[in-house]
Amino acid sequence: MTGPKDSTDAWSKVWLDAQKQYMDTWMQMSQPGKNWPGAQAPFGWGGAGAWADPMQQWTRLMTQALPQGSQDASTRLLDLGKSYMNLGETFWQILQQGKDFAGQETDWLEAMKKAFSSACSGAGSSGQEADPWSGFATFWGLPMNTWERFACSFSPLPGALEKALRPEGGAVSSDMTRAVRQMLSMPPVGYTREWQEQAQEWAQLYMEYARAMQEFGQLLGKVSQRAAELFSQKVTGLLKEGKPLEGLRATYNLWIDCGEDAYAEVMGTPDFPHLQAQMVNALMRLKRHEQAMMDEMMTALNMPTRRELDTTHQRVHGLQQQLGALQDAMENVTSGEQQAPEAPRAAARAPAAVKRPAPAKKKAAAKPARSQAKRRVQPKKTRGNS
């Protein structure tokens, strides 16, 4: 009789065999004389993601069978796997082209640099305006993805609104911008004018947020470009020194180093904190306005609003502080403590001009255990509300 564990083990073996067969087919493509036929890949997969996608499909299934504590880590591992395999695939294609290259070595190095830059910048997006999610974000799917999830989590509107509004692979389009601006220019009239004003203000705030996000995304896009430059420089340097890369992992580590160096350069500019804060602030203005609109709707339905809940919580908090102060005063009285003003205020006005010993970096061995303290451990005590 076989249990679920045996079943997954058997399935895993089948999968590993299939993986080997799959990669063997790719290996045959690497043989001299075999040309990489562009987007055509064995087994019907092609283009970027051909290496990563099959593994993703299998491992996502496996993830569901994992204990809760391992699921999050395995999801992150899979995200890494995707980036890793995409890097491998991109670099493989570049090298495959170089293998049969008949021109000057410098020409090939230049071609390699361009191909890598193109992959890093999310080639394929053809919108007139740069896609804030291209390059840095799509090649790695890193910080902006997390931001996107956060941004969606407070909105009463569909989470992926921003993505839904832009054309495939592109930024919020000029047409979209124009349409929204037209809506904004309509004068609010009639019985619903207040609601129209609010909707117009929402649209205005949304456009500001989209612009702020785009500007920050474009800044992050520079990281990919700079990382690609650094990577090409380092690979070229290694080649000149006659030191080849030691494998995909070494290539990946080199790319990470270049990515962090490039990121540090961009992060060190005044633009980074400015644009990042601008994006966060713009999102908050938008969400604040959405909340106000929601509150109005809730009021119309005679439902409690966020504003009312805040008021209630604030009052409870005030009462709790008053109660705490009373409890402390009572305890001080019952324990015979004086409620004399505590020293700090006076000390604050009289800064001590002190001479300290030089910082010591002593590491004395622990003393033997010390005498037993006279402990009077009180029974468990509880204050406030848990």
């Binding site: 997954t8 895993s12 790719w26 999050d72 890494l80 604040r288 001590a352 061995a365 622990a366």
Partner: protein, 355 residues
């Protein structure tokens, strides 16, 4: 023939190896089960709202007369100090004769949105200290403040000097405007009033996003590539998963406390420049006149060493000691070297000052 930096077939072989490592690793992940954290035996001795004060079971016959209260940051969970048996500051302090208490702040929810720094410092910490003092028949105890908890401990000591015998600060930000303080730079233009008014409690996920954004390639990419190297070792994998659990176990931050902390500390740097008030009372580092041990990490990317070292210039005590630990913000809790050096140094420093 063109010289290539790497042969294409080598990449394919490595990619297959990588795929197979992950495939086999998924089976190990399945088998390791859920990981446990916070391993040292402890007892809840006091509760208030969502706060729980724990006392760890002493491991020596005669622990120190003056207990040590650990005040951890509001960001992330305090079990980092007791992650696993062989990586536990708490365990090490106990073994070196300390009587250790720890504040667990819990997970604030919407009803805690108006908790402010006065609540955390003058109410929660103060009540825990009072409880321990009563339990031991003492007027004052020792404090060990970690990271943001260190900043809180400095404020508490300034306001309640009569309750603190000795103060230890670990990776504690003091001067928030030193160079290379990336988090501080990011906070400068943040409209924190708008943020808190909008979201109420600040989501832990937002803070995590900020921390991961400090080194996105390493922290969200390379770390997991390194994880593939330990996928066939259940023990190492469990250690990794414990750390992962801690990193992503980020409680939301009570809105008002977050507002005040960002505004007063990160944006206005009042702990150093002056003008800090908590609960209507002025706080100055000159009021901290008890012995201070300041432990900082030389490679700390969250709290730059300069930010901690600045304490010496501003603190009022005559008895100031600094220890530079060669490592990072996380390594100081869990690295093997830290386990050997940091808790013994703290215990030794405290014992030298015990009556």
């Amino acid at each position: 023939m063109m010289q290539l930096p790497l042969q294409p077939d080598q990449i394919l072989k490595d990619a297959l190896d990588f795929n197979q490592k992950i495939s086999r690793g998924m089976l190990t992940l399945r088998d390791v089960g859920d990981v446990e954290v916070g391993v040292t035996p402890k007892e809840a001795v006091y509760r208030e709202d969502k706060l729980v004060l724990y006392r760890y079971k002493p491991t020596v016959d005669k622990p120190a007369k003056t207990p040590l209260l650990i005040v951890y940051a509001l960001v992330n969970r305090p079990y980092m100090t007791d992650l696993q048996e062989d990586r536990s500051i708490v365990r090490n302090l106990l073994d070196h004769g300390e009587d250790v208490y720890l504040i667990d702040w819990g997970y604030p929810d919407g009803a805690d949105r108006f908790l402010d720094l006065n609540d955390y410092i003058n109410r929660y910490i103060h009540h825990c200290v009072q409880h321990i003092c009563k339990a031991h028949g003492l007027r004052k105890i020792n404090l060990l403040g970690i990271c943001q908890g260190g900043t809180f401990s400095l404020c508490y000591t300034a306001l309640h000097a009569e309750r603190v015998a000795n103060l230890v600060t670990m990776v504690t930000p003091v001067d928030f405007h030193t160079s290379r303080n990336v988090l501080s730079d990011w906070a400068r233009e943040l409209d924190v009033d708008l943020l808190v008014d909008t979201v109420g409690n600040v989501p832990g996920e937002l803070l995590n996003w900020s921390f991961l954004s400090l080194k996105p390639f390493r922290l969200t990419g390379q770390k997991y590539a390194d994880m593939t190297d330990i996928l066939d070792d259940p023990k190492k994998l469990r250690n990794f998963l414990r750390m992962e659990k801690w990193i992503f176990d980020s409680p939301d931050q009570a809105g008002e406390a977050f507002r005040e902390f960002i505004k007063y500390f990160y944006q206005q740097n009042r702990l150093v420049t002056g003008g800090l008030e908590i609960g209507g009372r002025g706080v100055s580092l000159k009021q901290v006149t008890v012995p201070v041990l300041n432990v900082y990490a030389t490679e700390d990317h969250l709290v730059p060493p300069e930010s901690s070292i600045a304490l010496e210039q501003h603190v009022g005590t005559r008895d100031y000691t600094a220890i530079a630990f060669p490592g990072g913000h996380i390594g100081i809790y869990v690295s093997g070297r830290s386990q050997k050096e940091v808790p013994p140094a703290i215990a030794s420093w405290l014992q030298e000052r015990s009556n």
